[in-house]
Symmetry: C2
Subunit: 242 residues, 2 copies
Amino acid sequence: MPQKPFLHTLLSPRLLDLYDVNDSIVVIIDVFRATSTIVTALYNGAEKVIPVAGVEDCIAIGKKLSAVTAGERDGKIIEGLQHGNSPLEYSREFIENKVLVLTTTNGTRLLHMALEKGAESIISGSFPNLSAVCDHLVAEKRNVILGCAGWKDRFNLEDTLFAGAVINRVKEHFTIHCDSSLMAETMFSKHKSNLLKFAPQLTHYHRLVERFGLIEDIKYCLTDDVANVLPVYKEGKLIVQK
Amino acid sequence: MPQKPFLHTLLSPRLLDLYDVNDSIVVIIDVFRATSTIVTALYNGAEKVIPVAGVEDCIAIGKKLSAVTAGERDGKIIEGLQHGNSPLEYSREFIENKVLVLTTTNGTRLLHMALEKGAESIISGSFPNLSAVCDHLVAEKRNVILGCAGWKDRFNLEDTLFAGAVINRVKEHFTIHCDSSLMAETMFSKHKSNLLKFAPQLTHYHRLVERFGLIEDIKYCLTDDVANVLPVYKEGKLIVQK
């Protein structure tokens, strides 16, 4: 029987070069909130999402394509951009048939780091598209890196919990010798029956809820399959895999 | 009431510069096996342990001081050195009143990285000296970084479990807003009643036990307080805090 493909969990962008990104599907995970926002915009009919690393690019590309520009740093809309990084801003009424150009603190940054390291297969995941991600990984039968974007290179638990949720569903299909993955699945299994109840213990929760009042964002970002499509990166943009 | 000092958990040496090492006690943690070996040699009467980053230094300093030289890379004794990185090699009969010069894959490397970043207060911890570490941290009332050495910059669970064991004991005395610490304590609490039963799931267990047959090392390194002294780093060496 051929060996099953490998699955690893990356706990910080800073560790990216320890993994073989060229030969793997890289899942970008930024639960609060970039990858929740990306999948929501696409689910609600956005033509594409263009992830950009910097604010200047965001403004320039937005102008050129008459696109919606969005981005935050430290939880606030960046000056010069139009919208923020809340998935709840991207209703079908607003975003259908539009292009979204997005820059964020962590998620879009990790995506660009993976590209620079030669990743050729990049998708985006969060609880709103958990099933789409898992179905794709099982179908592809390739090595996988679950890439937690973290917070400014620090470990965070919400991205780890999503990695754990994926592992919990797909582990029979992969070879997993990786303490990060073992930990991620353990943390998810412990809290899966009530992620929302656990959320107030997360560092990021305090920033989003206590400083910005974004409890509805938190609830949405932790809900399975409410925007269950698969964003795949192709030639500078994220589009829905048909 | 003054704020309690901060405690953070570092999950990989690669993340060291995200933390304020200058203003903290840095606990070097390399459970399998550097910090278990260091504390055992000191507990059994070694005059001092000199941690060195490279093999050449190890040989040269060993010669100069007529010291025991020890070191491993990838679990094997390095050519030119006399001893390995097993705590069970350092009985009182062998090591009492001697100097041990030690270089290892992860633990001594993290110690030198912390020194380079300006750390001024460094101690070494593992399960064999859990109580000594906790007592010191509570008494000092300073910020703490629990520094997991990991494996070649990757996250590992045995170091995280020790960080969790420390947090579990000292948390009332610290301000802890850190997902790494929350995770570490959760993992420890889940497995504390039987760390040895959990050990076979660890990546590092496979290397040590299946490749090198070191099950007794694993058992020893996971046992609380069997060498309960506090190694502190001072001017190039680790000595017992009196």
